[in-house]
């Protein structure tokens, strides 16, 4: 067990998987000689050479499509988007090709590919560099969507993603890359579709993922001082969702807050809430409250940016709301 930060845990997963399977290669902007825009691929070029770690031109659609074709022919590409904002340029390759190929070929060509990179808002990067893409990609059958909240999960989940025989959207977070945590040694795998109880409690279930789990933890600590023990549930896989785990928690607490960094309208939390309402309605003691990004493009000004994003205070307020506390 070593204490690693998130980027090193991801790096370790890539290194171990590339060592295990020579069909795995990585392409993307600045992944090789620059060692990765966020240093997730640091040292991989030196270790594996330019055949398996390739810098691309700024051609997201081109290299995402190249990954799909290589996957059809039996390779296992890891495609890095320097930011998931740039995946929008390649979205036709991800949705029309990667997600649909196995189905529309009648099961002839599956696509073992990972599209990974930072998702969500960075610090003060304004409107075009702050998109949360999980609800977009989770909408389309054929894709798995995963998003880790801590270094141990990051390693285990990325290894599972690379071994998956279907396309995986793997959403990291720029503000989480330096987050430290204990990471088990060796071949740990966090299976796709398996959530995790981060903190046990019996009053309210808070469902949060990626960086929002860090905020939820802070909120939980504050609330505990007040004697309110909340349960923190990290679904880890956003599609498929671990509904059995969610059900277990909701049956225990009867109250749910869903926190996501993305916009509130059509956010992933809306789907999770719908699943809970339709499958677990009788166990609920109060309406679900969602904490999400407000309905405006990300502004640059510090105060406006802060007002756009979910906050610890918002989460505490939501917990109080579902608990009918003032």
């Amino acid at each position: 067990m070593a204490v690693l930060d998130m980027r090193d845990a991801l790096n370790l997963a890539l290194k171990e998987e590339m060592t295990r399977d020579e069909k795995v290669f990585i392409v993307g902007e600045e992944v090789a000689e620059y060692n990765g825009a966020y240093k997730v691929t640091k040292g991989l070029l030196d270790h594996f050479g330019p055949k398996r770690v390739m810098d691309t031109p700024i051609s997201e659609s081109g290299f995402a499509g190249l990954g799909v074709g290589a996957a059809m022919m039996g390779l296992r590409p890891v495609v890095e988007f320097m930011s998931f904002n740039f995946s929008l340029v390649a979205i036709d390759q991800i949705i029309s090709n990667a997600a649909k190929m196995y189905y529309m070929s009648g099961g002839l060509f599956n696509i073992p590919i990972v599209f990974r990179g930072p998702n969500g808002a960075g610090p003060r990067v304004s409107s075009q560099h702050s998109h949360n893409m999980e609800s977009v990609y989770a909408h389309f059958p054929g894709l798995h969507v995963m998003s880790p909240s801590n270094p141990a999960d990051a390693k285990g989940m990325l290894k599972a993603a690379i071994r998956c025989n279907d396309p995986v959207i793997f959403l990291e977070n720029e503000l989480n890359y330096s987050l430290k945590g204990e990471v088990p040694d060796g071949d740990i795998i966090v299976p796709i579709g398996k959530g995790n109880i981060v903190r046990a409690g019996d009053k309210v279930t808070i469902i949060a993922w990626s960086r929002m789990m860090s905020l939820a933890k802070l909120a939980a600590e504050e609330l505990a001082k007040d004697g309110v023990e909340v349960e923190l549930l990290d679904p880890r896989s956003l599609k498929p969702l671990d509904m059995p785990l969610i059900a277990e928690s909701v049956k225990k607490t009867g109250r749910v807050v869903i926190v996501e960094e993305g916009h509130v309208f059509c956010g992933l939390g809306a789907q999770i809430a719908d699943n809970i309402y339709t499958q677990l309605f009788d166990y609920l003691d109060s309406p679900i409250v969602r904490v999400a990004q407000s309905e405006n493009p990300m502004p640059y000004a510090a105060n406006l940016e802060a007002a756009t994003m979910p906050s610890v205070a918002n989460i505490i307020k939501a917990v109080n709301q579902v608990s009918y506390r003032n």
Binding site: M72, Y102, H144
Partner: protein, 359 residues
């Protein structure tokens, strides 16, 4: 009756102009003629079946392009791959794809080459490395260079045929992928099947420089222009192109000037083209030209040509019958092949799907 009329319009003109001798051997010319005929009659049968409402959705036929696909793919080796547009039936048949499975796919039957789930625009074959018909214009370039990338990665000597229409050349993916292929020395042959119209828009109204081969120079690779109506020229030039791509590991652009005898799809009446223009290309019908040469060389008698036509039509009819009699995909196919891996919690039960409750 509308059916017959449409079919007549397409049926081979044996009055086609005889060009100078093709230089093709009797065996090669006969073999390629058979493939072109198979494509022609298959597509005619598909139009007929469409009019009988046995096929629905889009249907883009390859009629007029036959010399391109057949002449070019004579040089494909088993390890090579081919990817193309939604106009994908002809290449599938030229590669040796099963007419039965092709027609069954058009009919939406489980016996189809994509189990009835892909349809007209999405023919695939694993054993032929046929990486699909693709429905988004320009969406297939990445797939094609990915296959070429695999060839270098595995050092398996394969080349990748990437087919596209003239209408795809203004798309960003064409330029991105040609740049990547040139940058990384990928063995990819970018084959533009230029039928001069992107749907109803003449390429002069859509492409600033309609000399497609000249675009190769922008990426430092070779460009070739071929008369795509001329089977022998396609066959001969592509022999060189494929050999060079395989041995020198550099991409290239091949501009095939061809023509579709029908509209963009079956729903297109083709009002943007003059009858004279269409007829001028039908005069060059590569099937008619090939027949004329076989007869002129006394390599085949008229009776033998008729017998050949009859046998290929019978093969197509067999495919139609097979498609007609095949079952629709069972309902289990609805959610099958969405994912390959069985993942826990991945069931419709984890979502709320009102419409599947009653399915």
């Amino acid at each position: 009756l509308a059916t017959d009329k449409a079919t007549d319009k397409a049926t081979v003109k044996t009055s086609s102009k005889s060009e100078k001798p093709s230089g093709l051997s009797r065996e090669k010319l006969t073999a390629m003629l058979e493939k072109m005929m198979l494509i022609r009659y298959f597509e005619e049968a598909s139009i007929k079946a469409y009019q009988q409402k046995k096929i629905a959705g889009f249907l883009h036929t390859y009629i007029g392009h036959e010399a391109v696909g057949v002449g070019m793919l004579e040089h494909k080796l088993p390890q090579d791959s081919v990817v193309t547009t939604y106009r994908c039936h002809g290449l599938y048949l030229a590669l040796g794809g099963s007419p039965r499975e092709g027609m069954a796919e058009l009919f939406g039957k489980v016996t189809g080459c994509a189990r009835g789930k892909g349809g007209s625009m999405h023919f695939f074959s694993k054993e032929l490395n046929y990486l699909g018909g693709h429905g988004i214009v320009g969406g297939q370039f990445g797939v094609g260079i990915g296959a070429a990338f695999k060839s270098n990665y595995n050092e398996d000597n394969a080349v990748s045929f990437i087919c596209f229409g003239d209408g795809a050349t203004p798309q960003g993916t064409f330029h991105e992928c040609l740049n990547l292929a040139a940058l990384w020395d990928l063995p990819a042959i970018f084959v533009c099947e230029d039928n001069q119209y992107g749907m109803g828009t003449a390429n002069k109204r859509a492409i600033a420089n309609t000399d497609i081969a000249s675009k190769a120079a922008a990426y430092g690779v070779k460009g070739y222009t071929i008369d795509g109506m001329n089977l022998a020229e396609v066959h001969e030039v592509m022999r060189h192109v494929v050999h060079e791509t395989r041995t020198k590991r550099r991409p290239c652009v091949v501009h095939m000037k061809t023509y579709r005898f029908f509209g963009h799809s079956v729903s297109d009446a083709g009002l943007y083209r003059s009858k004279e223009e269409v007829d001028s290309y039908k005069e060059q019908d590569p099937i008619g030209v090939a027949i004329n040469e076989l007869i002129a060389n006394k390599w085949m008698s008229e009776e033998e040509v008729k017998a050949l036509q009859k046998s290929i039509k019978a093969r197509v009819q067999d495919a139609v019958d097979f498609a007609d009699e095949s079952p629709e995909p069972p309902l289990e196919e609805l959610t099958r092949h969405v994912y390959k891996d069985e993942v826990e919690n991945l069931t419709v039960a984890n979502l709320t799907l009102a419409n599947t409750e009653n399915a």
